[in-house]
């Protein structure tokens, strides 16, 4: 499992991303499910397909 996940991490070639600058603009984009995890709570923003987002969350 670790190698499988490492390959996915490595696909970004060490680049780092900011939540506020890079991710936050997608909160209201209907093509994406935006997930926030805080204190073991999972919140889905823009759950445009309820059954899918419920399953993922």
């Amino acid at each position: 499992m670790n190698n499988f996940i490492k390959e996915q991490i490595d696909s970004f070639n060490g680049k780092k991303y900011s939540i506020s600058k890079d991710l936050a603009p997608f909160i209201n984009n209907p093509l994406y499910l935006y997930i926030q995890i805080k204190n073991n709570n999972v919140i889905a923003s823009n759950p445009q397909i309820i059954s899918v987002s419920n399953n993922i969350v």
């Binding site: 499992m1 399953n55 993922i56």
Partner: protein, 260 residues
């Protein structure tokens, strides 16, 4: 799925984006989670959401696994079987093209499919000696992980397009558990899958499938070995392991890719 993962393994606070459709994120440079991803493409693979709810039947993967493993048909047809919807008609059209072939092919295109609540149970796939995994609207299929439970030799057909800089087939999270050409037969084609298959490519695919059929028919030990390999690998995949993957993946993503 994420909440179930948290119950088993701590997940650190984070934000993440999931592309819930069957295409992957290629438009923006963001660390996105996808349901499938071509070889070498940037991104993460999130388990398909039908792991916890199998379409309208509403049962989870572990339950489906038990149902499939406990089903033993009295007669097993010696054919190469596929049943599914006509989802490729606007693209490669491989499903319709193969449905016109005679025995040993048994390709059934229907508006209903093996996942529908009015259709045949997925464990009925075990009534057939050889199974096919054909691409859907995109060049991958969610049925792969169910075929892996059927204890039959199955042939997975994968497309990818190197002209889009795809250097390998579209992987999904289940690929973590199953080894190509050890647990199942994998036939991969570098083509423009957005267009109907050319006669040359179609004939090659048919010939390749026939060669696999012939090879296993001539060597029953080979057939048995591959099925045994598949059974062993299938024993490793479970919902708890999926949840472990989700928590490990999200924590690795947060640690390695996000600016604190």
């Amino acid at each position: 799925m994420i909440q179930n993962s948290i119950k088993l393994n701590k997940i650190n606070d984070t934000d993440m984006i999931i592309k819930i459709f069957d295409t992957y994120e290629w438009n923006y440079d963001i660390p996105c989670f996808n349901l499938s991803l071509p070889g070498n493409k940037q991104g993460f693979m999130f388990p398909h959401y039908d792991f916890i709810k199998f379409n309208k039947l509403g049962i989870d993967y572990d339950t489906m696994k038990l149902k499939i493993q406990n089903y033993n048909p009295k007669i097993i047809e010696n054919d190469i079987y596929f049943k599914g919807r006509n989802t490729t008609n606007t693209k490669s059209n491989i499903r319709v093209m193969l449905s016109q072939l005679d025995y040993p092919f048994s390709i059934n295109i229907s508006d209903d499919n093996v996942q529908g609540d009015n259709s045949e149970p997925i464990y009925f796939l075990k009534k057939h000696k050889y199974l096919l995994d054909l691409p859907g609207l995109q060049p991958w299929s969610v049925r792969f992980k169910y075929l892996c439970l059927c204890e039959r030799v199955f042939i997975r057909i994968s497309f990818y397009n190197s002209k889009f800089e795809e250097k390998g087939y579209w992987k999904q999270m289940s690929d973590l558990y199953f080894r190509e050409n050890i647990d199942y037969v994998h036939l991969k084609y570098d083509i423009d899958f957005e267009k109907p298959l050319s006669k040359t490519i179609l004939n090659k695919i048919i010939k390749d499938i026939e060669n696999v059929y012939s090879k296993f028919e001539k060597n029953p030990i080979l057939y048995k070995t591959m099925v045994n390999n598949l059974k062993k690998s299938a024993n490793k995949i479970s919902l708890n392991n999926i949840y472990k993957y989700i928590s490990t993946m999200i924590n690795s993503y947060t640690k390695n890719l996000l600016i604190k």
